[in-house]
């Protein structure tokens, strides 16, 4: 496939307006401003674009929930979710640092389609370089008339605000993000009301991931049919960025059509396993909250929303973490559990207590203090967390826990019986 989202990556000066324009940048915005907002929403609907932030919700449909009659007192807002904190995920950073104008153009077109005159880009605090890159690009875009009053003489105005987070994974969850943007702690809110009715400052708001918004200029420029033709079927369309990390020779961000075979990602793009002679053991396909798959479950697997759901996992953020046979799965499970315990916002008891409890039990097993009933206990704790909380972080902690225990039960049992890892899993978790 010809690179689309990554077409400017690696080109000298790809962050600058000059290079972006020389390569056709901002033509899509001009084209979009000649269409009506409704026509744009329909175009994105027809493309089959689904959100790249994790849940895979159809973008055009989401956009169609926004009110069509905003007023200065009750404006519509667009928020770009650049919080990117799910372990295993680093694709949005690549786009922001290498091609900030593509994100700005996508944001502008989306804002126009949503009848919004203000958009926020919420970027995680650690991405200081990314924030600086975006701010520089924004200054250029404003000077060129793409941002601000009366964009390109269309009569439509749009301001973009770049807002830095400050180190809280939960702020990637859309309602927590809104609280954070308003100057609060990032505590998720109960839904409904949904953001399209009651979002930032109580105003109608749409939240989209960086990669989602970066797809938009291409859809406008090349059409819905072009986009739809990339990918295995009507429900899984478009180019996709896959993040590859762990025990592969060439980790990185790779662009390919939606529905890329996992084997091609690992062996083709990734160059195969890192350490010669070690076979694949397991894959976390879509970021650390998605259930782990054993090597034998990966045979013939495609990386798209529906194929991974069918396989009992999720595409999530397409953060594919690869583990070879030297990996101690109990140690990995502990590290994953630690993450979610650390990042729970603490509002809901099942999540606040459950995430910490899971971590403690797995840590105890690893230190040699495991009890035979621990595996049932882990499952019970996890079950009690699913579907009982304000936001899906509790599920994001419960799902991987259950998958690790169910699929690598022998390794947990060995730890419980002998207080140490199975011989085959003893080396090279990097630990």
């Amino acid at each position: 496939m010809e690179p689309v989202l990554t077409r400017n990556v690696g080109i000298d000066g790809s962050q600058t307006l000059g290079v972006y324009q020389a390569r056709g940048g901002y033509l899509a915005l001009r084209k979009a401003l000649g269409l009506t907002p409704d026509a744009l929403v329909n175009l994105v609907k027809a493309s089959g674009l689904r959100g790249r932030g994790g849940a895979g919700f159809p973008t055009g449909l989401k956009w169609s929930f926004m009110p069509k009659d905003p007023t200065p007192e009750r404006p519509n807002y667009l928020v770009c979710n650049a919080d990117e904190s799910e372990p295993g995920t680093f694709k949005d950073r690549l786009l922001i640092e290498n091609d900030p104008h593509m994100l700005l153009e996508g944001t502008l077109i989306a804002a126009y389609a949503l009848r919004a005159e203000r958009a926020f880009i919420y970027i995680r605090g650690e991405y200081a370089y990314g924030a600086k890159t975006l701010i520089d690009a924004l200054r250029e875009a404003r000077a060129a008339g793409y941002v601000g009053r009366d964009v390109l003489g269309s009569g439509w105005s749009c301001e973009i605000v770049i807002h830095r987070g400050a180190g809280a994974y939960i702020c990637g969850e859309e309602t927590a993000l809104m609280d954070s943007l308003e100057g609060g702690r990032g505590n998720p809110r109960l839904k409904p009301p949904f953001p399209a009715a009651h979002g930032v400052y109580g105003r109608p708001t749409t939240i989209n991931n960086v990669e989602t918004l970066c797809c938009v200029p291409f859809i406008v420029e090349r059409g819905a049919d072009w986009f739809k033709a990339i990918g295995p079927d009507e429900k899984n369309t478009g180019p996709k960025l896959y993040c590859l990390s762990g025990h592969v020779r060439r980790p990185g961000v790779y662009e390919a059509p939606m529905g890329l075979p996992l084997a091609e990602l690992i062996d083709g793009f990734g160059g195969g396993m890192l350490r010669p002679g070690r076979a694949l053991k397991a894959v976390i396909p879509g970021g650390s909250s998605t259930p782990v798959l054993r090597a034998e479950e990966c045979a013939g697997l495609r990386m798209d929303f529906d194929a991974l759901a069918k396989a009992g996992s999720m595409l999530g953020s397409a953060g594919c973490i690869v583990m070879d046979e030297g990996t101690d799965m109990v140690a990995v499970a502990e590290r994953v559990a630690h993450f979610y315990a650390h990042e729970s916002c603490g509002q809901c008891t099942p999540c606040r207590e459950g995430t910490g409890w899971i971590e403690k039990v797995i840590a105890r097993i690893r230190r040699g203090g495991g009890r035979p009933e621990d595996l049932e206990l882990l499952d019970e704790i996890a079950q009690g967390m699913q579907g009982t909380t304000i936001c899906p972080l509790a599920d994001a902690a419960a799902m991987p826990c259950r998958a690790f225990v169910a699929k690598f039960r022998d390794e947990f049992e060995h730890y419980i019986e002998r207080g140490r890892p199975l011989a085959a899993a003893a080396s090279g978790t990097g630990a």
Binding site: E84, S85, E86, P87, G88, T89, F90, D92, R93, R118, R124, G125, E126, Y127, A128, Y129, E159, V161, H163, R164, G165, A166, G167, A168, Y169, S180, L181, E182, G183, G184, R185, G186, V200, Y201, C243, S245, G246, H247, R250, P251, G252, V253, L274, R275, I284, S288, G319, I321, M323, T327, A331, V332, R335, V336, F339, H342, E343, T429, G430, A431
Partner: protein, 186 residues
């Protein structure tokens, strides 16, 4: 630093920000539909200015935005990047999440701890380095990653750590980013 030390320290140090800070604050506030939206950027600004967010800084910001100091402190303490006490000259943040773990961050951590004679969470006696372990930094493809202040140093192995820390000690600042691809830390 205990809460009491902190209060005492703050009282001893007059902390009101000058007119330049106030001007930049105005600029930020103007970007938001409501003043309180500017709270996080103002906390970042205060931290950039002083190295941490002091109680006085929180009071100043609370007053500017029409919030209570308690509310502002509640926000400061929610986010891991805001520090309520000064760190060493260089803040070393090592990612210890899954992808970095698979690439050997635990060895890197032990090595830094040994080299600096501190444990994660501590500051060296000369005040030069503070080391902390953090959750995923979004550099999973080039892990292990060590963030030094605002810069990411990627593909860290023991040699790269040595070179980096020695350079920082000399007051030099190596170019951040990824290193040459390397074999895993075994």
């Amino acid at each position: 630093m205990s809460a009491e030390d902190r209060r005492a320290g703050n009282e001893a140090r007059p902390e009101t920000f000058g007119p330049e800070f106030a001007r930049r604050a105005d600029e930020i506030v103007a970007r938001y539909p409501q003043p309180r939206g500017a709270l996080m950027p103002l906390l970042h600004l205060a931290q950039d200015e002083r190295g941490y967010v002091s109680l006085d800084a929180e009071r100043w910001i609370a007053e500017r935005l029409g919030l209570t100091p308690a509310y502002v402190h509640g926000v400061t303490s929610f986010y891991t990047m805001y520090r309520t006490a000064p760190a060493g000259r260089h803040l070393l943040q090592l990612c210890t999440t899954v992808s970095c773990m698979l690439r050997g961050c635990d060895r890197v951590r032990e090595h830094i701890e040994e080299k600096l004679g501190i444990e994660a969470g501590e500051t060296t006696a000369d005040g030069l380095f503070t080391l902390v372990c953090v959750e995923c930094l979004g550099s999973c493809g080039t892990g292990p990653v060590l963030q030094v202040d605002d810069d990411f140093y990627e593909d860290m192995d023991l040699e790269r750590v040595d070179a980096l820390l020695d350079a920082l000690r000399r007051g030099e600042r190596p170019v951040p980013g990824a290193g040459p691809r390397r074999a895993i830390v075994e």
